[in-house]
Assembly symmetry: C2
Homo-oligomer: 482 residues x 2
Amino acid sequence: MSSEKEYVQEITAQEDNFSRWYRETIIKAKLMDYAPVRGCIVFRPDGYELWERIQAGLDRRFKATGHRNAYFPLFIPESFLQKEKEHVEGFNPELPWVTEAGGEKLEERLAIRPTSETIIGYMYAQWIKSYRDLPVLINQWANVVRWEKRTLPFLRTSEFLWQEGHTAHATAEEAREETTKMLEVYRDFVESELAIPVICGEKTPTERFAGAVDTYSIEAMMKNGWALQAGTSHYLGQNFARAFDIKYLDNDNTLKYVYTTSWGASTRLIGALVMVHGDDRGLVLPPKVAPLQVAFIPVGPAKTRAQVLARLDPLTAELEDAGIRVKADTRDEYSPGWKFNEYEMRGVPLRLELGPRDVENNQVVAVRRDTGEKTPLSQSGLAEQVCHMLQEIQENMFIRAKKFQEEHSHQADNMEELAGILADSGGFVLAGWCGDEACEAAVKEQTKATSRNIPFQPPTHKETCLVCQKPAKHTVWFARAF
Amino acid sequence: MSSEKEYVQEITAQEDNFSRWYRETIIKAKLMDYAPVRGCIVFRPDGYELWERIQAGLDRRFKATGHRNAYFPLFIPESFLQKEKEHVEGFNPELPWVTEAGGEKLEERLAIRPTSETIIGYMYAQWIKSYRDLPVLINQWANVVRWEKRTLPFLRTSEFLWQEGHTAHATAEEAREETTKMLEVYRDFVESELAIPVICGEKTPTERFAGAVDTYSIEAMMKNGWALQAGTSHYLGQNFARAFDIKYLDNDNTLKYVYTTSWGASTRLIGALVMVHGDDRGLVLPPKVAPLQVAFIPVGPAKTRAQVLARLDPLTAELEDAGIRVKADTRDEYSPGWKFNEYEMRGVPLRLELGPRDVENNQVVAVRRDTGEKTPLSQSGLAEQVCHMLQEIQENMFIRAKKFQEEHSHQADNMEELAGILADSGGFVLAGWCGDEACEAAVKEQTKATSRNIPFQPPTHKETCLVCQKPAKHTVWFARAF
């Protein structure tokens, strides 16, 4: 495998500089490119197709749980944002403003939406009149803009793509149930299709969404041990209902405010895919969302090419017919070695090689991207074997990521232990917390780690706060985070 | 059918005021609502689902013709728009500008994209180096903004949703072939899935896209006889390649500019669906894109309800299993008559009624939305019969719209004839045109009709210009247009 070296030279090794490895990989794998607008990126076809598959997987689950899609305006009048105090404080610093349009100065500035609680709240107030109109279960697929100081492709960009669910309910209980149901939808999707294990839990008050009563998150561990918040679900109580006067006539004939929720996942999931599974040779994509699942490559001397292609073409067709996303790369201007590297860089889960000797032996050689393992497969019933192998890869990738997460999960009883772990192996650290914001701030200041969430199912309950050593109110995961 | 009257009173008749009928119908059918931002609308779930089905039908065709999706930034730096002279002149008056972001005044104003030729051209210049990189076949699904003076829901709104294809080719021939291929994709989709017959042709120079060499369109006839441009495809020649320096090294080792195309269809297709098929009772939706295909409604006295539902439930399940989008409306608080009106207003293609006598006779009564025709169907093999009927409705809707289009297509040899036809029956008028912009302008000024397109296959060739009576260069369709 002399060809491997080319890429080892081309991209930075993860352990040398993880952030540089990340930036180089997503460019070389052609997931994205930098755009000529501050903090914006272009989603190239392979990057966008990952998003399309993420969209499909989530959308199916949203619809199965009774939600429908709708679309609300990109522009939010300034006065709308002022209506929920915490909300405006949270988002104001990041807003871009349209001040002129159609050759005239606008009377009221329009913000480009950073999220749509306000304008959707306004519409819900028009639509919801009676208990018969509830619940309202709507999701929106959209672009949003947050003018961030520091940007990182997919993870934090000025403009990004996401979905935002916005629901309204008659009771607090029902709204709370929705909040946790959608968190579970995210967990299920991210674990079963992206092969990324996550920790479900509640955010501490300082990490809450601006305007929420409670925020829940799923947190994933990247290969450098840092955390990435992969989806959030917010119980908004009556905060937005009061701000936008969303009331309904209940069947007891009294007017009541609704309870609302919102929940979102974004193109940062693409970043998570890269940083959870990628290695020093590039992307490693889970078969369920990989744009290309199988790269089929003819090998051997040029004079045998015609003979090899005569077998390769019908086998490719057989795989296609079985619904496998396969591409036969029969280009002559590139060597097999170059192609191996290319599809490894792009994270294609499985490579199939077919040479003259394979033709004689009625076999193809399968090479797994996740393990590098080579396996000869019989040409008879190839599609079925490939399907099976793709499934194995999907499962193995989850198991491996889960094992990594467990191996990099620790516990700390005090700040020294926390700092030691973070300096040493890194990862997630479970610790007790008294509930005082000052203690949480001390952790961040001294270690740069932040509270990720208060897990629903902590592996153990910690008794004392890692900072002040008073009795712990919560057991919290701390980590450096993207 | 006493219940019909309720709606006749509720919405304006088409022939009394078509525009008012349109506005009332789309609100009452809950396709959209007005947003609290100038010229913007909210796509409610039924409206958005129409868009989702339009997206699916087009996207499938784009991919089948070798295109992939990507995503480019919402923001376009002012300097980019300046690079193509005609382009900036065409779009400048309609642009909204972001002048402040993240608490600071921007050094360069950012336009919200009205279309993306410029920013995509800039990226293509980075990506395209060699003839091996061509063709580039990319499509984008996105929101765009044009600050229009007069707005009309779906047809002309400040923000709208669309797709924009952008391709780059080595030769003019190949780019021209792409331009016509994509026009044909639009024709095929709009005719076969939206059941809307269209006329394919070339736009006159005054109606061209700003920056294009040639623009082609599909034009549909609304029920008031006006035209609606339902999709456009532009051959851009080397205009944008030169403006953005998109060059490739050809295999003869010389640097050459690429040839580009762009093509788009938007949420105005939803408006077309409404105005081609709707009637005085509301929407009439073609089964292929209808969010709901079948409304199943129990009828008869309350005391028989349990017995009816015992049959209705398994029959509904049978239809669902066959992939039919069916809803059983078993709500007690609404009368069957109210429900009939409701699903008629929403344009559901087929209503099924089941009463106690139908249970006895092993039948259901099917009522077609397009014709009002009532047909008893046997409960045995119901799904198959319903599928067949939906297909018939789809076909009939196209035939009917085609017939309407033909009946409202006329010819004129001079301005008097044109004016007479427009004042009388309205519709499309075929006429000769000398090619002089002054004559085209005279038509618009005197009759408000504009040239729709120069059809590829005119029913006949006209010899003289309808205005100046000199020899005609082109045979053109003229019509009032949305």
